[in-house]
Symmetry: C2
Subunit: 431 residues, 2 copies
């Protein structure tokens, strides 16, 4: 990747970045990182989200090994992190490309030099198509692959590229869906129509098939397996029809973060096609993992011998009020904490004196825009001022959260923290 | 406000800003605004959030008039917008100051020259207190007022200021809460303890009383009225005790966006105190208003003769897939759309040819990270391909949303659009 990414280290640390030390204002990110400040005593203000340096490194390796073992390529979903420095580390760990959901995300990846972008949606926005055409024509090494799932979509995409005077064709993957699911054709007949439309277009080229098993209705192991077989069968059928005769390699892609074991199994059973097949997994949440949904659904729960993921996020908030027995208020809320797939869990309490203890029995009961409501295992006994173990005003409280996509998005510059509390670097996000 | 705010117009329009035209990359915000592009044909990419220039102007005037009529000052809650350009317009419309929830937000307001900041929480973060001390000591014209609700909080705050070598005292407002509510003392005995602690401190000075009626349990007109009477009674009691003998003016503050009529009534009945009283309303949501919660709860529903607010946000997303009858997918999801206080409403459909129609009967049934699921009034008749009125792939769909605080936060640069579709300016936010 080009030097653009290094320029992030030249950004000035200022009011734009919550959680960062006010007394660092005016330093560059590089200069602040070089100071190797301590997270707890280095002037960071609460709330502050942190990423564990060790957990991120562990997770990068775990997915690289999993993919390698199963002959899969990785195009991690970049929408999760939207962090070019993490894209770079994923590419350095062997990723084939970066997946995105919308053209804006493709622009961010492209601004930092990503050369293979998988846009996992139909792209019919004329202004965005003009941008794609410009980028592709300016750099022969840049390759954008988009999903298609309707003849109308193909026609609009082709019109947009023609209006933009695109020189190179844009590669497309025929998206398979499922009844009651999200995007993607529902059957072979529609798939044929879409493939015909692509063949008839001036600006597109069919490069493979793709889909997302995570959005099929009632996704369980059996439903996912059956759907993945359909996906493979579609690739086989299109190949037999000679739909890939013009290309050197067929792309076959599936895989979120909940079923990549099933994807590996299904893809391993794909019969030989007329061309080599790039089997591309698009998992994104693995990089930070989480303390909620993805902890529950990671395939490594089923296959512990294949690896593991570590939760990398920890949000530190401060107790700002304990206004009545049984109620403790933290200075972090919906603005800071992911809440769409469950409330955060309380992991630890740190006193101003630096004593850290586990937070057994504490829970977050609700969030306001800027506050979390914390409760103990039970209300205080009658006559007691407070239940035992509740943190005091001024204490820091560590929260683990659910859903990486809605954690990253709330923090534009995230300290990367080593196990001893040293902040070794900062991760910039663009949402 | 100082020139810092004008520097926002010097920012380069680039990959950081979703929705903005890719072909504007390299222009400054000022240059792009001068082009007065058309929202629909000017190269903006979907999804794109817009703010109505007319609605914002209307709402600024409506609240200014309401406050003026009732002898209230406005310190609009800046956490809602986090937009310095909107802070400036609020101050130009007579606002007394800007309210914030956490030190980071105070930093943003301060970076753009706000000189009176109301921090509506207890502030016990030592690094943040050191920042406050530096700012106050560097600028005699800067005034930060924070809430306090416990003797421990007062002591920690005082310690932090002392550790920072603060020269000037920080003004504090004694926060009143309610049993089962959020922050704030629950009774007069605790209020007295906190006031005593402030009096005994070296670094604080009691400047008044404050609270938030929106978080009292079961807030209805009667409960809010009763609580506001308690707030006024607390101000009277502290004044009679001579707690405000050292200050020229007493601050009395309440008011979110749902009960400012009740606040106006209660504050109008405050008996004369020993000092002039600055009666400060902290409403924030009025500026953009919304198409959900705040449309329901605005006090102007009860008092239409006193004014009105107009919903200013409109999100344009594009149909990217219509994979089966009855299901239409938009390219905007949790990343773009507020969802914590209800799903968005579908307001209009715009075809590529520029025909706009109302979206009667269409609704958003669920959101994924990057998709909205759109349904018609009923599924298609058996044998029909689609129910009538559903938008086609490529159409733009306008969504109205609920909860300004979680709309603004998702968009770093928001086009301000005139009624004729001309983009006249851009609003930068810092979350």
């Amino acid at each position: 990747m080009p030097p653009a990414i290094d320029s992030l280290a030249d950004e000035i640390v200022d009011h734009r970045f919550k959680g960062l030390p006010p007394d660092a204002a005016g330093l560059t990110v590089r200069e602040l990182a070089a100071e190797r400040r301590d997270l707890y005593t280095g002037g960071f203000i609460t709330p502050v989200l942190t990423l564990s340096a060790e957990a991120v490194a562990h997770n990068l390796c775990a997915m690289d090994r999993f993919a390698g073992r199963h002959g899969l390529l990785l195009a991690p979903h970049g929408k999760t992190t939207m962090a070019p420095a993490l894209f770079r580390r994923q590419l350095e760990h062997g990723a084939w490309g970066i997946t995105v959901a919308v053209p804006h995300q493709a622009r961010v990846a492209r601004a930092f030099g990503v050369r293979r972008i998988l846009l996992a949606n139909q792209l019919v926005d004329h202004a965005a198509l003009a941008w794609v055409a410009r980028e592709q024509d300016a750099d022969p090494g840049f390759r954008l692959l988009a999903f298609v799932d309707s003849a109308r979509g193909v026609r609009l995409m082709d019109e947009g590229l023609r209006a933009a005077g695109a020189g190179r064709r844009v590669e497309v993957l025929l998206e398979l869906g499922a009844e009651g699911g999200r995007g993607g054709v529902r059957d072979a007949a529609r798939a044929g129509e879409v493939a015909d439309a692509v063949a008839a277009s001036a600006g597109l080229r069919l490069a493979g098939v793709a889909g997302y098993e995570g959005e099929i209705p009632g996704a369980d192991a059996e439903a996912v397996r059956a759907w993945l077989e359909r996906l493979c069968a579609l690739a086989v059928a299109l190949d037999r029809e000679g739909r890939f005769a013009q290309i050197p390699e067929i792309v076959l892609s599936a895989g979120g973060s909940a079923w990549f074991d099933a994807v590996a199994d299904a893809f391993s059973r794909l019969p030989p096609l007329s061309r080599p097949v790039a089997k591309v997994l698009r998992s994104g949440a693995y990089l930070s993992h989480d303390d909620g949904r993805y902890r529950e659904v990671t395939p490594f729960n089923r296959r512990p011998h294949e690896g593991s993921l570590l939760p990398a996020f920890r949000l530190w908030a401060q107790v700002v009020s304990r206004p009545e027995p049984g109620l403790t208020l933290l200075n972090a809320g919906k603005r800071d904490i992911a809440y769409d797939l469950g409330l955060p869990e309380v992991q630890a309490v740190r006193t101003a004196a630096g004593r850290v203890r586990r937070a057994d029995g504490l829970s977050v009961t609700r969030l306001a825009d800027q506050h979390a409501f914390l409760a103990g295992p039970a209300g205080p006994e009658p006559g007691e001022a407070e239940s035992p173990g509740m943190p005091e005003v001024g204490d820091w409280v560590a929260l683990g959260m659910s859903h990486p996509c809605t954690i990253f998005e709330k923090w534009p510059l995230i300290p990367l923290v080593a196990g001893d509390g040293t902040v070794t670097d900062y991760v910039r996000t663009f949402f």
